[in-house]
Subunit: 466 residues, 2 copies
């Protein structure tokens, strides 16, 4: 369980502040956003690779921002996607005239929020593409690869995209290479014990002592089977076998990551590698620059996973390219490449111009709408009280199906929504509900945040201000 | 607890095999030894920095072998010093004509075993120096700094020595700089929960839930006080205050490491850094290239520690120098420096010539000594049976005062000793006891290994073969 925190509600913000301070030689904050970027901000004329997702997975995601890897990372609460507003702000701030690639693991909350951000950026004239990572073979069959979750494959896809962008590839090419890396990447994992949110004393889930949960996800999503503990030499086969089942004909060279989830330590991973090394030889696989360590963690979860990316010469060059970030360094970056600054149109995405323009002056608000706004405020307050009282139960239910944060997330969103509704002063129903919806989506993040934000905003639009 | 292992007795050997395989681009085995060295072995004319200690602390120690850091690492069993024989073999194999620096944390077992190795190397004409790391302020007062344990300060001292050796400094200078780095380095830590040896289901020690053990050592050595849990913003002061108490007048710039012990994860460390950053400013300290992460772990122990090294320009240059190792990389190494290969005497330490010369033909063994040898074999076997039956109790007692491995270590040593005594065939008392002593010291490692090895060897010398 976590032991080092202040108010658990502030955990993510405290963490981001500390990260920015400790690694100021690499990163700085995206102004006004829960996001970090390479020190010095975007490079004009270079594609910007923006990654993200919930926190609790360090080095993923902010730990791999730097030359040769990502340009920025949007940071959500623990195991919770960042909001569309934060992703949008990161996209605006980091666009350097050559377009933006969003890349992240395939989870409903991230998909919804980054899609909303992408729509806004596209509407403002920024070329914005998205590559979902779908490497976890335990989460869907090969025929439904697009439904798979993203786990440690995230890192390989980000590495490939980041290296391509840094050598000057255009957006079409960076996107295509990231898709190719994702299609070539497979992962499979096991868990031995659960993880615990800061401030909680009960784990999000648990694994029966003496057993292991095969295929369990990085947020505790249920695995595909529970089996008795087995020695490392047998576990190695359990991890590799489902990946070999999808080995393309003729594939020989592979990027390999043996990843610890938090409490399963390096020495254990090396014991496992001892057997894996022999299995790779038997299977005709040549590991290329393998990494054994913690690349994508899940708080203090006990468990590990194996990731393979089948390399062709193009992917191998990008996997092998130098990188220099807080948590991952490879080779020598040399002097930063200069990007063309001429011939680029003066796009609307000039760095620094990150504030949306104010809305045109609205017509006066009618008294019936003011009355409806008061009702909306009371309704939000009643929701907050009800949901606060039920927060533990909502968390318990969510822990069965998901990551157990639904109670906390709803309370965080409703607090922000009621506060924004109160601050909206003499606004009508539309003004109050849209302010509440925007605040909910922004502060809560996750799937419920973006959905409730959209519900309130839509209801406000129907009711109007008259 | 550990979940990934085969036979716990083989854990270290399995781990070393896996490490060598996964990171073969960095390291290779020291021939015939439980030790690793930079790929390609020693460089002629360069001082060799050899580090070591028990395992269970990765990245310490083998994870930091590579250009800019150590030349080799001797690897003991979990929380157990490597044997003198292994340290000797590493010294022989890695000496490149410019001498050897042994450096390791100040623990009785390591001190005894490396000292025995150093004596043998010196007797064979190799210039061998030793720098103990003594940074843990919780373990002795400043006036008895030489009695302090070595914890994360190990890494800083190794980094400084490694950088000095790689730029071509002679042994006197490398030794002096390592001593200076050690004198300038202070660490202090806390633990929230114990760690568990592979194959055990009970932790080595435990911390009462809701409390933290302040000053606890990296092998579970008792701390200086137990206090109630406190928020990160208060914990930051607890960690920094005893280090500030030893701040030299005028010290401003400091290397800083905020280290996680295994289960206390990165996000928690960043939350702690948020407060530390402000405290550094208040105290007039400027962190130089700080590292927040896992540098010296203790299996899956929950806890963290803070390390400061007061930097002058000389130490800062070495702390900042590039390094490229499996677990720690900084900057760009560039092409490896060439060292002089002329003018060096053809010392007895030529790499590859690692086998000690066979003993001169011995006089025949007398029958009384053969009878004594049979008694010695029976005595060893009785010891093995007695100690095996008492192994759990020996471990329990040792867990109160030390690291809980005394039962396991004694059994490992006695098994090796009885086996070697049996293999000694028609030897007399001296031959049998010296074979048993050498095997015990080599296979058991630790303090008890080197002491029992010395006892049996000395008894054999007194009894003789007649």
């Amino acid at each position: 369980m976590a032991h080092v925190y202040n108010d658990p509600v502030d955990f993510k913000d405290d963490m981001v502040e500390g990260f920015l301070s400790a690694y100021s030689r690499y990163v700085e904050r995206v102004p006004g956003a829960s996001a970090v970027m390479r020190r010095g901000g975007p490079q004009r004329g270079k594609v910007s690779v923006i990654i993200g997702g919930g926190s609790g997975h360090y080095p993923a995601f902010c730990g791999t921002v730097g030359p040769g890897l990502a340009d920025g990372a949007v940071i959500g609460d623990i195991f919770t996607s960042p909001s569309a507003e934060q992703a949008y702000r990161a996209g605006r701030a980091l666009e350097g005239g050559a377009g933006v690639l969003f890349s992240f693991g395939n989870y409903a909350g991230d998909v919804l929020n980054f899609a909303a951000a992408s729509e806004r950026l596209t509407a403002e004239g920024i070329d914005c593409r998205t590559v979902l990572v779908t490497d976890d073979v335990a989460s869907a069959p090969l025929a439904e690869q697009h439904k798979r979750r993203g786990v440690v494959g995230d890192f390989v896809v980000f590495k490939v995209a980041g290296a391509a962008a840094d050598r000057g590839d255009p957006l079409d090419r960076v996107e295509a290479l990231a898709r190719k890396a994702n299609a070539a990447t497979v992962s499979f994992g096991v868990a031995f014990d659960g993880c615990t949110f800061p401030g909680r004393d009960q784990p999000l889930f648990s694994v029966q002592p003496g057993f292991m949960d095969v295929g369990l996800g990085i947020h505790g999503e249920p695995g595909i089977r529970t089996v008795a503990w087995m020695p490392a030499r047998e576990l190695a086969g359990i991890l590799l076998e489902p990946l070999l089942a999808e080995k393309p004909a003729g594939a020989v060279r592979a990027a390999v990551i043996l990843n610890g989830l938090g409490a399963t330590k390096y020495e254990e991973l090396f014991v496992l590698w001892q057997t894996l090394a022999g299995l790779f030889i038997e299977a005709g696989i040549e590991p290329v620059l393998p990494e054994v360590g913690e690349i994508v963690t899940s708080l203090d979860m006990a468990g590990c996973s194996l990731t393979l990316t089948w390399l062709d010469p193009e992917l191998e060059e990008l996997w092998s390219a130098p990188a220099d970030t807080p948590a991952f360094r490879r080779g020598s970056m040399g002097a930063p490449r200069s990007f063309a600054t001429e011939g680029l149109s003066d796009s609307p995405a000039t760095a620094g111009d990150t504030e949306p323009s104010p809305a045109a002056a609205a017509p006066p608000v009618g008294e019936p709408s003011r009355a409806a706004a008061r009702t909306a405020r009371l309704a939000l307050r009643a929701m907050l009280e009800t949901v606060t009282a039920a927060a533990d139960e909502l968390g318990r239910i969510d822990a069965v199906a998901g990551d157990g944060d639904h109670g906390v997330g709803m309370v965080r969103g409703l607090r922000a929504a009621t506060s924004a509704a109160d601050d909206a002063g003499q606004a009508g129903a539309k003004g109050v509900l849209q302010a509440a919806g925007a605040a909910w989506a922004d502060k809560a993040g996750g799937t419920s945040g973006v959905l409730w934000g959209a519900i309130l905003t839509a209801a406000g639009a129907v009711l109007g201000d008259q």
